[in-house]
């Protein structure tokens, strides 16, 4: 078994002293005594543990160190807050901007913000408010009220980003750990499926943004972890006239430009999944394989009638997305199978796709209700509707009665009179910490009213993003 090799704040590291189930955060704080990176929640929601990671072929990305297992950084460069300032102590521009904006109070969240801003600066995006909020959505501050932090981001325009160091990040290994705990990072699809067949109880790790929680929250220490992240076949994105196809290891961040082009409403929804830290690691396939009733992408993939390509050592099969999830956190994946790709057919003339997410907070919140609709209209009538909801049942579920009630009728606000009854026929949701059952029913029906208004060119704004 090989050591984990990476660049840490510009210095080459080869680490073989710690188990491969050690989180990057515990490694940095404990083994390396780099205590600038903080633990605020150990669930990837507060951002205090944010560090930046880069591959030789890519730029700096912000990630949550609390959710990453150490071997996930093999072959990368990692920068922590300790690596920002110059060797003479001169502050990095993001640090200087935070100081000058009076953007620190208690300071505990600050290193995480500095690293999120560092990645934002590297990306070269215009410092517009919408981009800034997107870049900061994964970082919580309880003291400042954010205004000075956002101001600090605005000051970054035109400052030069840090080059990715090349030392120590070229060589990547494919197996780590010892007999107690193994971490495999195969670099071919055949290698991956062979391992999945050999270790049927292994954790299959995409970005680890969900499985990482079982390490931090439930103290689970899996004996075998198999990462999909290095398999080139699973990183493929193909765009044809007929479909957009995402490999099983494509992250949200990698998928977003293509979703923007083909399914902008889907892309807008994906930008509200987790934070950039999460989306830089998390995968579309992982969200699907999770089979959570409140996953945001399954309703979209089902409404779009996506096809899931499943691969194993013995071959390949394809099933429609709406047959992939078979129950509460259960899927159609057979032992030895992985999600090779997700194929989303492009919209035909007359078709529109719209997705909505309702939550207490706009950014980085788990949906109370998520709804996805593929709408086909012709001459003012609704000729086709695929409607899927999350948060309304134990799994992502199709609104069969809603589809039946609306399809083939004139498409306007007037035809929605019976929609509350149809929703109530389709769903019996629960009260929980995200919303009451009554809210879910009322809002689910009202989202169809919003849909009708938005797809029939009502001039008045029907949602807050339009303001």
């Amino acid at each position: 078994m090989a050591p984990v090799r990476f660049s840490l704040n510009g210095r080459a590291v080869a680490e073989d002293r710690v188990p491969p189930t050690t989180t990057l955060l515990d490694y940095l704080r404990g083994t390396r005594r780099l205590t600038g990176t903080k633990e605020g929640c150990a669930e990837g929601d507060c951002g205090a543990c944010t560090v930046a990671v880069a591959r030789a072929d890519g730029g700096w990305q912000a990630v949550n160190a609390c959710l990453m297992l150490l071997p996930q950084v093999d072959g990368t460069a990692v920068v922590t807050v300790e690596g920002l300032a110059a060797t003479d102590g001169a502050l990095h521009p993001v640090q200087q901007a935070l100081v000058e904006a009076d953007a620190t109070q208690c300071g505990f969240c600050t290193p995480g913000f500095a690293m999120a801003m560092f990645a934002f600066q590297h990306g070269g995006e215009p410092p517009e408010d919408d981009r800034i909020h997107e870049a900061l959505a994964g970082n919580l501050c309880r003291c400042t009220g954010y205004r000075p932090i956002v101001d600090a981001c605005r000051r970054l325009a035109g400052t030069a980003p840090m080059p990715v160091p090349t030392a120590g990040i070229a060589a990547a290994s494919d197996a780590f750990g010892d007999d107690g705990h193994r971490f495999f990072a195969p670099s071919t699809l055949s290698g991956l499926t062979a391992l999945v067949e050999r270790y049927p109880d292994a954790w299959l790790l995409g970005g680890g943004t969900d499985l990482g929680l079982t390490v931090t929250k439930q103290r689970q220490r899996p004996t075998v972890v198999i990462s999909t992240a290095r398999v080139p076949e699973l990183k493929r994105i193909s765009v044809t006239d007929d479909a957009v196809e995402f490999g099983g290891a494509v992250t949200y961040t990698e998928a977003l430009p293509h979703l923007d082009a083909s399914f902008p409403s889907f892309a807008a929804l994906v930008r509200r999944i987790g934070s950039r830290q999460i989306r830089n690691l998390g995968t579309l396939a992982g969200n699907l394989a999770n089979a959570s009733p409140i996953g945001d992408t399954p309703p979209c993939l089902m409404a779009l009638d996506a096809e899931i390509v499943l691969g194993s050592a013995t071959g390949q099969r394809r099933i429609p997305a709406d047959r992939f999830i078979t129950g509460y956190r259960r899927t159609a994946l057979q032992p030895g199978e992985v999600i090779e790709a997700i194929r989303i057919p492009t919209l035909r003339a007359g078709e529109r796709f719209v997705a909505y997410k309702l939550s207490k907070r706009f950014d980085q919140d788990i949906s109370a209700v998520v709804a996805a609709f593929r709408v086909t209209t012709q001459d003012g009538a609704l000729t086709g509707l695929r409607a899927f909801y999350g948060g309304m049942a134990a799994t992502t579920a199709r609104a069969v009665a809603v589809e039946a009630a609306l399809t083939g009728r004139p498409w306007s606000a007037g035809s929605l009179a019976g929609i509350d009854a149809a929703i109530a026929q389709d769903f019996t949701p629960l009260d929980d910490q995200r919303a009451t059952a009554g809210y879910r029913l009322a809002a689910a029906a009202n989202l169809l009213r919003r849909l009708a208004a938005e797809t029939s060119h009502d001039p008045a704004p029907v949602r807050l993003e339009a303001l």
Binding site: R33, L34, T35, G36, K38, E39, G40, A42, D45, C46, E82, T87, G89, D102, T104, Q105, G107, F108, T110, P111, D129, L136, A137, N139, L140, C141, R142, C143, T144, G145, Y146, V150, K217, R219, L358, S359, K360, R361, F362, D363, Q364, D365, I366, D432, Q433, A435, T436, G438, Y439, A442, A443, N446, L447, R449, A453, A460, P461, V462, L464, L467
Partner: protein, 774 residues
């Protein structure tokens, strides 16, 4: 990379009223500022974890630690029976145990703790502790507690005039009910303490606490030690907001008992979920009122009950209720009034201090009433407010008998209204709503008057310790704690001002019970008022001695000695400050002094709820615009304009940060932050994935906070400044009232808006449907 942070190089004196940057800003951005979890531990130190009750109310028939002790690496495990002293850390009342003793009273109640060689082993051990619960009947809501008259402390009643007769005589009667939720502090640094045993049972404790003295007392009680054997130190906290006032003592106490038992240093750092499950929060309140008003909207009589959900024990609930009662008047003259405060016992985590300390809930109560009155009478809410404002010469006495002598309510609200063109703003909101059936806007203002001083006069004292060294550098220590609010730099500015030296000459040091004893919590917005004055007292004592040496040296009257910009002048002669310090030493004059301060004028009679509990009031006003989606209940805050009275601000940059931060925290309390218990009594919002504090996008895109200009404190506070920590949080009530305004816009004019806090999408949508009459 490891170079020391650059020292400030400015030569100008940066004393009182200067916008000096936070002293740790460079440490914060480089990650070099040390928090407790970053401290290197002694090599034999242990890490610890808590065992939390899984039942909201259960007899503990037995706790079996054997499986925990069998986990490799586990060194010690304790239950209440292992506490050598008295199992009591109650800040006010007695019998509030650190570890549940025979009875668990909330899901999350610490019942045992485990220490091990590693954190992983400690948490594994804690998970293996077997607790035999005998479940008991539960009371989970304020309504149930009211029904059974279950209280953690006696009711408090504040009465003035004859409210019953005035209610009966009033031309119009309005009654109503409104609820506000609790709030988790969500300090980014969770609760943590390190206990290091020393010689002769001494215990050194590093605690992330706002109240080192209370930690000292709690640890001493638990270990059965005199106070002088326990020393508590804190350099900085990663946020606190009241959550580390009494709650930190639980954590430090358990760490100390584990350290005493094992004889080894112990660090107890709570995982976020344990922190949110085990420690107290802001009190939810149920408010019921019966008001008598006239046709102009004047409140002639008020009978109001404020029922706080105390949780399982009193903790700080009695004074929280007192402060709520002292703030139901907000800015309004209430001629005949009875306000009853109830501290309801429920089988939930005991609620505690949180920025505002009952004040926000009291103010929400009266503002809900004013809003109801305005809608009932179809009058603009600001008109109703102005008609009820305290007078200057008459109608100027609070329900608790304190004259409002520093009333600038009309000035503050007037300046804000003019600065933001309220009529034009109102017209724009109405015009938008006229053509927007789905998305509706709302606009509201709120005035705030907040009383400064701890309600209990005894607590309004502070100590400081100042040393001047012979190079002219100054060591500063005081009883206040730094939680990010900028207290340390403010007090350093006070000392810089006293000596007329640059603030960079002053080294701020960690708060320690060994340096300044018998301190009060850094709370009630009082940190700089109290500790600033104590430090000023110490500095002035030393300056007086130095002036005498200078006078003697140059043979001039001491009254002519001038300290100015790093030098000390005696007519045409001068010495650098450090040269004079050296001269003092050589002449055997002490360059060290303690300082002390006690707030004057204040008194309080708890039996009658009367007195002058507050040295002064601070004032503010806000206007906010929101938009709601009437299909989904989603909301956004579009604009907020704030004006806050800080007296002659000690540090405008720090104060601005407090105003903005408190306001956004208030938005969170009133909108997205919802604590949700399932029917079994388990808190289901115990991490940031389920408990949603505001993010950067939730800050209004148009957000202007201003400090009131030319408003020195009438009272002789430190350089005529005013406290700032809590008051601006209540400015966020403007957001909640604006949501009510937006909801009202979909119903008939005059319809009552029935909206509690927090205004989650669920509550907003339900309120929209109710106002529409569905």
């Amino acid at each position: 990379m490891n170079a020391p942070p650059p020292t400030p190089t400015g030569t100008a004196r940066r004393g009182a009223h200067a916008a000096v940057r936070h002293d740790s800003a460079v440490g914060h951005v480089t990650g070099r500022a040390v928090y407790l979890d970053d401290m290197p531990l002694p090599p034999n130190a242990l890490e610890a974890a808590l065992v939390l009750s899984t039942h909201p109310h259960a007899r503990l028939r037995g706790i079996d630690l054997s499986a925990a002790l069998a986990v490799p690496g586990v060194v010690a495990a304790i239950t209440a029976g292992d506490i050598p002293g008295r199992n009591d850390i109650g800040p006010i009342l007695r019998n509030e145990p650190a570890l549940a003793d025979g009875l668990a009273e909330y899901a999350g109640h610490p019942v045992a703790a485990v220490a091990a060689e590693t954190l992983e082993a400690a948490r594994e051990g804690a998970a293996r502790v077997v607790v035999d619960y005998e479940p008991l009947p539960t009371v989970l809501t304020v309504e149930e507690a009211l029904e059974h008259k279950l209280y953690v402390a006696p009711p408090q009643v504040m009465t003035r005039g004859d409210p019953d007769a005035a209610l009966a005589a009033a031309p119009i009667r309005l009654s109503g009910e409104v609820r506000c939720g609790g709030q988790d502090h969500f300090y980014l640094e969770g609760q943590i303490a390190i206990a290091i045993p020393g010689e002769d049972r001494d215990m050194q404790v590093y605690s992330s606490t706002q109240h080192p003295t209370e930690v000292q007392h709690g640890v001493a009680h638990l270990l059965g030690l005199p106070f002088n054997q326990v020393t508590v130190e804190v350099r900085r906290m990663g946020g606190a907001f009241g959550g580390k006032e009494s709650q930190a003592t639980i954590i430090a106490g358990i760490a100390a008992v584990l350290a005493a038992k094992s004889g080894r240093p112990v660090k107890l750092r709570l995982a976020r979920d344990d922190d949110m499950l085990a420690t107290g929060k802001r009190h939810p309140f149920l408010i019921r009122y019966d008001a008598g008003i006239d046709a102009k909207g004047r409140i002639l009589a008020l009978d109001m009950t404020l029922a706080a959900d105390a949780g399982n024990i009193a903790d700080l609930t009695p004074p929280v209720v007192t402060r709520a009662l002292c703030h139901v008047d907000n800015c309004y003259w209430l001629p005949h009034v009875r306000v009853t405060g109830l501290a309801c016992k429920t089988h939930k985590v005991s609620n505690t201090a949180f920025r505002g300390f009952g004040g926000p809930q009291g103010m929400l109560a009266i503002e809900a009433l004013v809003d109801d009155v305005a809608r009932h009478l179809r009058l603009p809410a600001d008109t109703v407010r102005a008609r009820n404002f305290y007078g200057i010469e008459r109608d100027n006495v609070t329900p608790y008998g304190m004259a409002v002598e520093d009333n600038i309510i009309a000035r503050v609200t007037g300046e804000l209204a003019r600065a933001v063109d309220l009529p034009g703003w109102r017209a724009a909101v109405d015009a938008f709503n006229a053509t927007s059936p789905v998305v509706r806007k709302g606009l509201a203002t709120v005035p705030v008057k907040f009383g400064i001083s701890f309600n209990l006069p005894t607590l309004n004292q502070a100590g400081a310790l100042v040393h001047v060294y012979t190079d002219g550098s100054v060591h500063l220590n005081h009883g206040g704690t730094e939680m990010g609010q900028g207290l340390f730099v403010k007090v350093a500015q006070v000392v810089a001002e006293a000596f007329s030296i640059d603030v960079s000459m002053i080294r701020i040091s960690a708060t320690s019970t060994g340096k300044v004893p018998n301190t009060s919590a850094t709370a009630a917005s009082s940190g700089s008022d109290l500790n600033g004055m104590a430090a000023l007292n110490a500095a002035e004592t030393i300056r007086g001695r130095m002036a005498e040496v200078m006078a003697e040296r140059f043979a001039v009257p001491v009254g002519e000695i001038v300290f100015d910009d790093g030098r000390v002048f005696a007519r045409n002669e001068s010495l650098a400050f450090g040269e004079l310090a050296q001269l003092c030493w050589s002449r055997r004059v002490s360059l060290s002094s303690t300082g002390f301060y006690r707030t004057p004028k204040i008194h309080w009679d708890a039996a009658t709820c009367t007195g002058r509990p507050f040295f002064y009031f601070t004032y503010g006003a806000a206007a906010a615009e929101v938009a709601i989606d009437t299909l989904t209940g989603e909301l956004r805050v579009l604009r907020a304009e704030l004006l806050q009275d800080c007296g002659a601000s000690l540090n405008p940059a720090i104060d601005l940060g407090q105003i903005e931060g408190a306001f956004v925290q208030g938005i969170g309390w009133l909108t997205s932050e919802e604590l949700w218990w399932d029917p079994s009594g388990a808190l289901r919002t115990h991490g940031p994935s389920t408990y949603k504090i505001p993010g950067s996008r939730d800050v209004p895109p148009v957000f202007n906070a201003r400090l009131l200009a030319d408003a020195p404190n009438r009272e002789a506070t430190v350089f005529r400044s005013k406290a700032v920590g809590e008051p601006p949080l209540m400015l966020a009530l403007s957001v909640w009232l604006a949501i009510r305004d937006a909801v009202a816009s979909v119903g008939p004019v005059g319809a009552k808006v029935d909206l509690d806090a927090p205004a989650t999408p669920t509550r907003v949508l339900a309120a929209v449907e109710r106002v529409r009459g569905r």
